[in-house]
């Protein structure tokens, strides 16, 4: 008979996890859909009661989002304007039911190429805090989500929180999602961006990430660099195909590869235009 544990105490959870063989469960919104045809007899470690994984709040260094914070709590939290894209992404994750249960940490650990949360958090320079019985480590998000269903999580490790550095919380944020229907839709392409202006009104910094066009969502570093010092109005026109060279979309039932490339370009341009308005 399989076991189920839902500890409050992080040490207990980490000791349990260290034994190996446990499946971590948070909001359940990815866990159960992967087990539709029959129940599995896995041992379940439910992390939703862990105090250490809760809450959204300021730290001295920026913003901390507990891994077990739900997308609803992201929507409801008072966050700086740079997080508008993150909130927009939260509103696009499933329907209200999914937003009420699905967690930020779960979205990252599930590592779907189409995870709406990943590009939004990449555009905020997110870092993940990983805890284990052996200690704590931090990784930039792009070194945590490595590919389709692939993360840097080690056995015995738990994602405890996501940290957004103070520097990333300045400016405006946007998230654009392309799907074939209005609600409950897996993204064909999504683009997240933040933009911060210098005192003279030129672009001081932009962070842009594209999802569902590579195995793991990707920052557009070359484009970000090219935009520094430009007037925000010029930003969208500065985009050229070279900036998107790292995208390598696949074809699936939602769209073919050329379509994903083409619409990624459109959405990046639109995201920049929207950011220019908002910044």
């Amino acid at each position: 008979m399989s076991r189920y544990l839902r500890p409050r105490d992080l040490d207990e959870a980490l000791r349990t996890l260290a034994d190996g063989g446990w499946t971590v469960l948070a909001g359940g919104t990815d866990h159960y859909p992967a087990r539709v045809t029959h129940d599995t007899g896995e041992d379940i470690l439910d992390v939703t009661a862990l105090d250490a994984l809760q809450g959204i709040g300021r730290t001295g260094a920026g913003l901390r989002i507990g891994a077990a914070a739900t997308w609803r709590s992201v929507i409801d939290a008072e966050l700086p304007a740079a997080c508008d894209g993150l909130k927009a992404a939260a509103r696009e994750i499933g329907g209200a039911q999914i937003q009420n249960r699905g967690t930020v940490g779960g979205n990252l650990c599930n590592a779907s190429p189409a995870a709406d949360g990943v590009p939004a958090l990449l555009s905020l320079d997110a870092e993940v805090e990983l805890v284990s019985a052996g200690g704590t480590r931090r990784l930039p998000l792009d070194r945590f989500v490595l590919g389709n269903r692939k993360t840097a999580l080690e056995p015995g490790e738990l994602l405890a929180a996501v940290h957004l550095p103070e520097a990333a919380l300045d400016g405006a944020g946007r998230f654009l999602k392309l799907g074939a229907r209005r609600y409950l839709v897996i993204s064909i392409v999504m683009v997240a961006g933040t933009m911060r202006l210098a005192a003279d009104g030129t672009i001081a910094g932009t962070r842009l990430a594209v999802g569902a066009c590579t195995a793991a969502a990707l920052r557009l570093g070359a484009l970000e660099t090219a935009l520094v010092g430009l007037s925000p109005k010029e930003a969208a026109d500065r985009l050229d195909d070279g900036h998107l060279a790292a995208l390598a979309p696949i074809a699936d039932v939602r769209g073919d590869a050329p379509y994903r490339m083409d619409t990624a370009r459109t959405l990046v341009r639109r995201c920049l235009a929207d950011l220019a308005e908002a910044a």
Partner: protein
């Protein structure tokens, strides 16, 4: 590991010993008996299981029960007051006709309840956001949204109509109460506790030979396995199919499978828990896959593998309608337009998966299953078991949506074989991927057509051929092949017609019945040609259709002269103001720079009600009881469309009794006479007429008893009927009259079989007794850079003969439009790829346009009070109107439907490339 969990449900504390990782939905339904919470997907894709947990809506299928520990759960059973009085939200749903089949209703109610607790007077956008996570396949969502917006008004309930005025009244569903408080019992809601459970083993390959390994050893090693059944366990015939001469599908395949999802064996386990844990991945079967025949092109190719011995060239059957000299007609045209188009498999996606149970009672077998066709189920079970039809009893559960998908056998035959052999009740339930893979689909069509037109707008000729992919087995393929050529020319005066079809076997899933039987596909190309022809002669598309619209007295391409109830011209006329408004909106919007372009389009349709040139009778009985109440024996299965309600409305008015006196015995092959299938938009017309005749028959019997004249007026007064005519008053005391063996005083019976005549080799004859007509227009917004389309507004004018219940008719139109929108823009079943409700997309509340319905009432003399069908007609013109709107907005539209964003974007880019080259 089980644990004792404590939480409150609907205000009462409950303790339950369960595995904490068990889905909350299962704990509620199976451990606590609260079956009002429905399960449609177990994956958070449909929202049917929505409940409140700690004051917020959640999918109960995604919540481990352990997370409810110490919490507060509210289910649909908790919405009403303790005395059963419905809440303002439930009453608003009843008033607005917001529940059709009712399977999504608990989820919708809970999602709305969640919203209204935070925001008692929400706007439309907030309502859509709140309901966005619940799928509905029947209603098109609009009446649900209207209901939620109207909760605060706390308006009074719909009034009961006065005697004799039920027909035409907006009567609230008579079977509505149980849909709103969770008491209605669907396929998975009445399983006996001692039932065995059955899971079908299915082919993972589209074409393969197979052999079983050591099944006994596997069965012995897997906990709870009672038996494994295969083809050799079928006691009668291991075959089934819609047509008596085409029973080409095995209950369990014998060494060879023709589609992914085909049944090869059934595993029977002791308990539901064992069923839920049953992992068939280790079942010993050796597959030898072969290269599958995918699509009609491959199937028709010279030398293609012959999939059925009796069908050389893989052609199951052909259909043909020929009238006049079409070559001469084309030669005489001023312009000829032509097109080629394709559609894909479409899945019915009823939110209730197949579920039910069967038991053997001596030499009889009884089934309680979700079905559209209890009598056909009865006959198929008898055939497979090799027993008399009378030895089988089928009682439908409440049906959580059908749309044609529950017109075929699914769970019935394995259940019957299992209970027959094992002697114990046996239950089953398909999971969503199984429901998708195993059951029938809409036929993909590959069509070519051309249309000739003169400068002054006359249609000289129409030529059509469609190859319809009927998949691995015949199912309803012949119905599609027969219906399509009749309807393909559209509801127009056409000089000469040559329309042909073929139903072609492939290794796809069996394509069967789906709302429209091929007519929606044919309308997509026919209506496109109407637009292109109008364009060639410089006519407005609406005016061109009006000019050519069939009118009473016109002959059709089958040589039938439709004498009455041809309301198409009235429908088109009624659309003119909205058409003009759409045109202005398109012009104004497109004159501005912006990311999107608008377009408007029109689609028209006709649809023959009832079977094509085949007898399809319905029998209804209306009985009078000593207490003055009436029982309608109604075999017309209500799958959400409302036949339960309108049959009573019709019978009550025909008799002259208050609707409130009518009780019903519903869809039980032992008790209700055969009303035929709920298909082909026939129940309102055919069974409605039978109900009318039953009511009149009972009235005649009462009058005879009272020795009163034809024009007498009846007043029902408890156990008395007062009969008043010119000769005076008679008071019938029902309590002193003799009753028959069933406790009835008098029984009226009505039988109606619509008059048709066979079609000859050229398709000449009278295929249908009456036709429904409709015209719809759509205003769409396209984002050309993304290829996405949003339908903003639709106006739908439908000639329904007479609207027995306008609220229900509007509900059918809204729901038909939703399915037509899905067909046009998003729905495509790809075996192995889109076998769930997140890869296979159906419209959500946020995808629906605003819809104005215009009901045209051009009475059908044969119909009950003039009524004819609406179920399928509602869907047929929608996709053509949307596609025309896209074409107007961006100048192109792909030849392949659905117009997925990437397909539209590719068409736009190709057009841009062509333009640049010119």
């Amino acid at each position: 590991m089980t644990a004792t969990l404590t939480f409150t449900v609907n205000g009462s504390e409950c303790r339950v010993d369960v595995a904490p990782q068990r889905r909350l939905s299962r704990v509620l339904r199976e451990d606590l008996g609260l079956t009002g919470t429905k399960v449609g997907c177990d994956a958070g894709d449909c929202g049917a299981c929505t409940v409140l947990l700690d004051g917020a809506q959640v999918c109960a299928c995604l919540v481990p029960a352990g997370q409810a520990e110490g919490g507060e759960v509210v289910t649909v059973e908790g919405l009403a007051d303790r005395d059963g009085t419905h809440s303002a939200l439930q009453r608003a749903f009843a008033r607005h006709g917001a529940a059709q089949c009712g399977i999504c209703t608990p989820g919708m109610l809970m999602a709305a309840h969640d919203l209204l607790r935070r925001n008692p007077q929400p706007g439309r956008a907030a309502v859509e956001d709140a309901l966005g996570g619940v799928l509905c396949r029947c209603t098109g969502y609009l009446k649900i949204v209207e209901a939620v917006l109207d909760v605060a008004s706390n308006a009074p309930d719909t009034e009961a109509p006065a005697p004799g005025t039920a027909v035409g009244a907006r009567v609230a569903r008579l079977d509505g109460v149980g849909k709103l408080d969770g008491r209605d019992l669907y396929g998975d809601d009445t399983t006996p506790a001692d039932a065995l459970w059955l899971r079908v083993l299915r082919s993972p390959h589209a074409l393969a030979d197979f052999a079983f390994g050591d099944v006994d050893a596997w069965a012995a090693a897997v906990p709870g396995v009672v038996a494994v059944l295969t083809a050799r366990d079928v006691p009668g015939h291991n075959s089934f199919g819609i047509y008596p001469t085409l029973k080409d599908q095995p209950v369990f395949a014998e060494g060879f499978v023709r589609y992914r999802g085909e049944a090869v064996a059934a595993v029977i386990v002791e308990t539901r828990a064992a069923f839920e844990a049953l992992d068939l991945s280790g079942f010993p079967v050796d597959w030898s896959p072969r290269e599958a025949v995918v699509g009609v092109e491959a199937a028709l190719k010279e030398g293609a593998l012959r999939l059925h011995e009796a069908s050389p060239g893989n052609v199951l059957i052909r259909g043909r309608v020929a009238s006049g000299d079409v070559d001469a007609a084309m030669a005489g045209a001023d312009a000829v337009v032509e097109a080629a188009m394709q559609t894909g498999f479409v899945e019915h996606s009823y939110i209730e998966p197949e579920a039910g149970w069967a038991r053997r009672a001596g030499d009889r077998v009884e089934l309680r299953v979700t079905t559209q066709t209890p009598y056909m189920d009865r006959d198929e079970v008898a055939h497979v078991l090799g027993i008399a039809q009378e030895a089988v009893r089928v009682t439908p559960s409440v049906v959580g949506g059908g749309f044609g998908g529950k017109l075929d056998q699914s769970i019935q035959l394995p259940l019957a074989v299992a209970t027959w052999k094992l002697g114990r009740p046996v239950a089953t339930l398909y999971h969503r991927p199984e429901s998708f893979a195993a059951t029938t689909k809409r036929h993909p069509a590959r069509m070519t057509a051309s249309l000739g037109v003169t400068r002054d707008g006359a249609i000289t000729g129409f030529r059509f051929h469609g190859d319809f992919d009927t998949g691995a087995y015949a199912s309803w393929g012949p119905t599609v092949a027969g219906r399509v050529p009749v309807h393909a020319p559209g509801p127009y005066r056409v000089g000469a017609v040559l329309a042909s079809s073929a139903a072609v076997y492939t290794d796809g899933p069996p394509a069967g019945a789906f709302r429209g039987f091929g007519v929606p596909q044919a309308a997509i190309i026919g209506e496109r040609l109407m637009d292109e022809a109008a364009g060639r002669i410089g006519m407005d598309p609406l005016e061109f259709r009006l000019l050519n619209a069939l009118r009473a007295g016109d002959p059709t391409a089958t040589g039938q002269v439709i004498e009455a109830s041809v309301g198409l011209a009235a429908c088109i006329e009624a659309l003119k103001p909205a058409w003009a408004r759409y045109g202005e909106q398109v012009a104004a919007h497109n004159a501005k720079a912006g990311r999107t372009r608008l377009g408007a389009g029109i689609g028209c349709m006709w649809y023959g009600c009832g079977n094509t040139s085949m007898s399809n009778p319905s029998i209804m009985r209306l009985a009078l009881k000593p207490d003055g109440r009436l029982t309608l024996f109604n075999g017309a299965v209500d799958i959400g469309q409302g036949s339960y309600t309108i049959m009573a409305q019709i019978a009550a008015d025909a008799l002259g009794a208050p609707l409130s006196l009518v009780d019903q015995v519903w869809g039980d092959t032992d008790l209700t006479p055969d009303a035929g299938k709920t298909s082909a938009s026939r129940q309102t017309f055919v069974s409605g007429r039978a109900s009318e005749l039953a009511g009149r028959d009972l009235r005649a019997r009462i009058l005879r008893l009272a020795n009163a004249g034809e024009d007498a007026e009846l007043t029902f007064d408890g156990g008395r009927i007062v009969v008043r005519d010119a000769a005076g008053l008679r008071d019938l005391d029902l309590s002193v009259l003799p009753v028959d063996g069933d406790g009835h005083l008098l029984v009226g019976e009505g039988t109606f079989d619509p008059p048709t005549a066979p079609l000859d080799a050229d398709g000449q004859g009278t295929p249908y007794a009456t036709y429904a007509f409709a015209a719809q227009i759509a205003l769409v917004e396209v984002d050309p850079e993304l290829g996405t389309t949003k339908v903003l507004h639709m106006t739908a004018a439908h000639d329904v003969g007479w609207a027995v219940n306008p609220t229900l008719v509007e509900g059918q139109i809204h729901g038909g439009i939703a399915q037509g929108l899905g067909l046009a823009l998003m729905e495509e079943y790809v075996p192995g790829r889109t076998e769930n409700l997140h890869d296979y997309l159906i419209p959500t509340v946020g995808d629906m346009p605003q819809i104005d319905c215009i009901l045209i009432e051009d009475p059908e003399p044969l119909g009950p009070f003039g009524a004819k069908g609406i179920g399928e007609p509602a869907l047929v013109p929608t996709a053509p109107a949307i596609l025309a709107g896209i074409r107007q907005a961006v100048g192109v539209c792909p030849d392949k439907v659905p117009v997925l964003p990437h397909r539209l974007r590719a068409a736009i880019r190709a057009a841009q490339t062509r333009e640049a080259a010119e």
